[in-house]
């Protein structure tokens, strides 16, 4: 029982981080029907910038909550800029071409970013410090969940709520929904499609940055290749939930997180990474529109 609860908590934690990344995939897919392969790399860059700024700002004497939020700010800002620039360079010039061209460009961008970070930083694993200050939790929940885990779940929940509010309440959010449903009509009604697409990349990248910062704290290490597998799993989560659907992505991510943890705990940790793939094939075979999707999937 104890093991089961522990596994559930770690599944929830992982699922939360996958959800943060999966949202970027699902939003971009909802808007321009493109698998943004470079998204996993944005997440990796989020982890790297977090680490860099935590060390740089830490050396300047910042600590505690101040450090955490400063690091978060820089990571989110830089990832947003990366996301915006990547779209501008690798995808925008290809809009209106066959579906293969942007896909290849995306995979090229992903490889480029991976190797760029490897070359300018390091090919080795880097230790990641614990940035979340001591919350002083005792007894109760903390028997099963570390405070990092709780913080990750809480932060993810906050992001989800913020995103939902943004999509539902703001003009830009509404424009996004409009574009994802019918780009032609949206443009005719005066929506600036370019701006909406840029905004989608920026928001997706910001969420990925939060994911990168949190997972660094949780795994206590990072490397240039971390975005590859994480990105693939997050995409699986997005497909699982029905690609294009925001609640679907979150649900898919949680399911994936739980399945992975349980597989790692009860079968073998060697095959933890295989779970995502098996789920992906299974869902594509049995229910390609995803668990939350219907024939007309709810998009963004």
């Amino acid at each position: 029982m104890e093991l089961f609860l522990n596994l559930c908590v770690s599944g929830l934690t992982k699922g939360s981080v996958y959800a943060l990344i999966a949202l970027g995939y699902t939003m971009v897919y909802g808007i321009i029907a493109l698998i943004n392969f470079a998204h996993g790399e944005i997440y990796m860059i989020g982890a790297f910038t977090s680490l860099i700024f935590s060390m740089a700002l830490g050396a300047l004497g910042l600590s505690g909550w101040g450090l955490l939020f400063a690091v978060g700010f820089f990571a989110v800002a830089y990832c947003a800029m990366y996301g915006w620039t990547v779209e501008k360079i690798a995808y925008r010039p290809l809009r209106g071409q066959s579906r293969l061209a942007p896909l290849i460009s995306a995979i090229g961008m992903s490889i480029f970013l991976q190797n760029y970070v490897q070359l300018v930083q390091t090919p080795n694993f880097l230790p990641f410090p614990d940035l979340i200050p001591d919350l002083g939790l005792k007894g109760g929940v903390s028997r099963y969940a570390s405070q990092t885990q709780l913080a990750i779940v809480a932060a993810t929940a906050v992001c989800m709520v913020a995103l939902t509010l943004f999509i539902k309440k703001t003009r830009l959010g509404m424009a996004m929904r409009a574009v994802s449903q019918d780009p032609v009509m949206a443009r005719l009604s005066g929506v600036n499609i370019d701006r909406v697409i840029s905004a989608t990349f920026v928001i997706g990248s910001m969420l990925a940055a939060v994911g990168g910062l949190l997972i660094g704290n949780y795994a206590h290490q990072t490397d240039f290749f971390t975005g590859f597998l994480a990105g693939m799993k997050a995409f699986t989560a997005a497909v699982l939930g029905g690609i294009g659907s925001i609640p679907g992505a979150v649900a898919g991510a949680l399911i994936l997180g739980f399945s992975e943890s349980l597989a790692a705990g009860y079968i073998s940790s060697d095959y933890e990474d295989v779970v995502a793939f098996v789920l992906l094939i299974a869902i594509l075979t049995l229910r390609p529109e995803g668990i939350m999707g219907s024939a007309t999937a709810q998009k963004v």
């Binding site: 010039p93 995979i107 090229g108 390091t122 032609v184 295989v274 992906l280 390609p288």
Partner: protein, 529 residues
């Protein structure tokens, strides 16, 4: 952030803006990526803007504007790259190394890159407009230039020149082992293996338009089939060659069946995941020997002749062989050369067959393809499985050449490399893929300093080629059919075919082939039948 670093609209005028933002047919076409033609060039052209700069002053002003825009873009990129490039993590001491010395270099690289980017973007846009203008004018001119992309190799399109070149190349390649060093032979074997892989992937990506990102896995299946069947059952190269190809095909079918019913995008991610899982399983499973891999894979045999013992002294004695040459490798060289020749023949024939045309239709437009009575799933599946076959074939040869295989040989990087070859050379183009492989495999061998930047460059190639030259270095050309018009009602047309242009004469000018009374069978120079 209001100043967009890569915006072409401000500076470059309407034409390049329209073409660069990929809005060929007005607003609707821009957002309907799936309905636009593959090259996105079909729309009406905007006025050529880059032309006629007017006066010298205007030219200078434009130059200044160009420079200013490049500076702004470069500044943005430098700012973006700064924390990752300049603040390097020093994990040994748990601190940051501030490498400010990298900053000028970074600024210079980004500045030159943006200048080149803007120049290329402008040029691409301009050439697209030019093409559109020249094509918009009325019906196709009578007996004018043929169809498909004008290749700068057009001289070679003439049949005799092609034949002569082909024979010369064949003679050269066959003679290579007898006057070069063992090292050159090894590199050539590698290059030829990649050509085989590239041609195989070309069927999937270039012809059928399905993105397979896990090609390395199918290559690995071939290699491991040989390795395991040899270590387990003692089977030799020749028995394993078809078996390796077969197992890769079967795996391709098994993977393809659930996925290929769906949109092509899923295939990319599923194949990517599959390759990763394949590697993980190889590492974790016992009977493949885990990360230690399989050793002592034998070279191919040749009727039981001991090549190095019996034949080598004879040849070396006559000065026909490098003294250190391993004749087993030479044999592998000839085998892979034959496989490449066979592959070229097969791919050429496939492309101009019922099946190949179904694949092309699939690539061009899935809905229209089905409306032509083509079973979409079956067409996809055959392309995908057949592409895997060649990976398996190449895998067996690879295992035999390298004698030791481990999961590390079949990682994602290999898939990326093969995809880069296809993208660089030209999707759907046989000579393109061969040139692409030659460039990407041979150049790094001789430019060692590029070794570190290899993957970076592969990634860049994919992005840049897609943006600036999606058709590749040597675009694929379509077969040209020669006809004479029917003389009257009921008169049969006499079809014949040649390749490339220079022969694409319209019916108004009867061609030699068309004028003959007996219709000649369609046949291309590369397919002597």
């Amino acid at each position: 952030m209001t100043q967009a670093p890569f915006s072409v609209k401000g500076q470059a005028g309407p034409a390049s803006a329209a073409a660069a933002s990929g809005a060929p047919g007005g607003p609707a076409a821009a957002v309907h990526a799936e309905t636009a033609g593959p090259s996105g060039l079909s729309g009406p052209p905007a006025a050529p803007a880059a032309a006629s700069p007017g006066s010298k002053a205007a030219l200078l002003r434009r130059l200044a504007g160009e420079l200013r825009a490049a500076v702004i873009s470069a500044a943005w990129l430098t700012f973006l790259a700064l924390p990752l490039v300049v603040f390097r993590i020093n994990s040994a001491f748990g601190k940051i190394d501030y490498l400010w010395g990298r900053l000028p270099k970074l600024a210079a690289v980004t500045f030159l890159a943006t200048l080149a980017w803007r120049f290329l973007l402008r040029r691409t846009a301009f050439s697209r407009v030019k093409e559109a203008v020249s094509e918009a004018g009325g019906p196709p001119p009578e007996g004018a230039r043929g169809p498909a992309g004008r290749s700068w190799l057009s001289l070679l399109d003439r049949a005799p020149a092609k034949k002569a070149l082909f024979l010369a190349l064949a003679a050269f390649l066959l003679s290579v082992p007898f006057w070069t060093s063992p090292y050159v032979v090894l590199i050539l074997i590698t290059a030829l293996i990649y050509i085989t892989l590239g041609l195989g992937l070309n069927i999937v990506v270039g012809v059928a338009g399905l993105l397979n990102l896990g090609y390395a896995a199918f290559f690995g299946v071939g290699a491991y089939t040989f390795g395991l069947l040899h270590s387990g059952l003692g089977l030799g190269f020749w028995a394993c060659l078809p078996l390796g190809a077969l197992s890769a095909t079967v795996l391709g079918l098994l993977l393809g069946i659930p996925v290929l019913r769906l949109s092509g995008d899923y295939l990319a991610i599923v194949t990517l995941g599959f390759a990763e899982i394949f590697r993980l399983v190889l590492v974790n499973v016992d009977f493949t020997n885990g990360p230690r891999g399989i050793r002592n894979i034998p070279p191919p045999s040749l009727f039981g002749i001991d090549l190095n013992g019996a034949v080598k002294p004879f040849l070396a004695g006559k000065g026909l062989l490098h003294p250190d040459m391993d004749l087993n490798k030479v044999l592998i060289y000839f085998i892979i050369l034959a496989i490449v020749a066979l592959t070229v023949l097969c791919v050429y024939r496939l492309e101009n067959s019922r099946l190949g045309r179904a694949w092309l239709a699939l690539r061009e437009d899935e809905v229209a393809c089905q409306a032509m009575g083509i079973n979409r799933t079956r067409a996809k599946l055959t392309a995908f499985a057949l592409g895997s076959t060649w990976a398996g074939l190449a895998g067996v040869v690879f295992a035999s050449q390298i004698t030791f295989i481990s999961p590390a040989s079949f990682d994602f990087m290999l898939s990326v490399m093969v995809l880069s070859i296809v993208v660089l050379g030209g999707m759907g183009s046989i000579p393109g893929v061969m040139i692409g492989a030659a460039v990407l495999i041979l150049l790094p061998e001789y430019l060692r300093e590029f070794q570190d930047y290899r993957m970076l460059i592969f990634g860049l190639i994919m992005v840049l080629m897609m943006v600036f030259r999606p058709q590749g270095i040597i675009p694929g050309t379509r077969r040209v059919y020669l006809y004479s018009p029917s003389p009257g009602a009921g008169g049969g047309a006499a079809p014949s075919a040649g390749d490339g242009e220079g022969q694409g004469e319209g019916p108004a000018a009867p061609s030699p082939a068309g004028a003959s009374s007996a219709p000649a069978a369609p046949a291309g120079p590369a397919a002597p039948s």
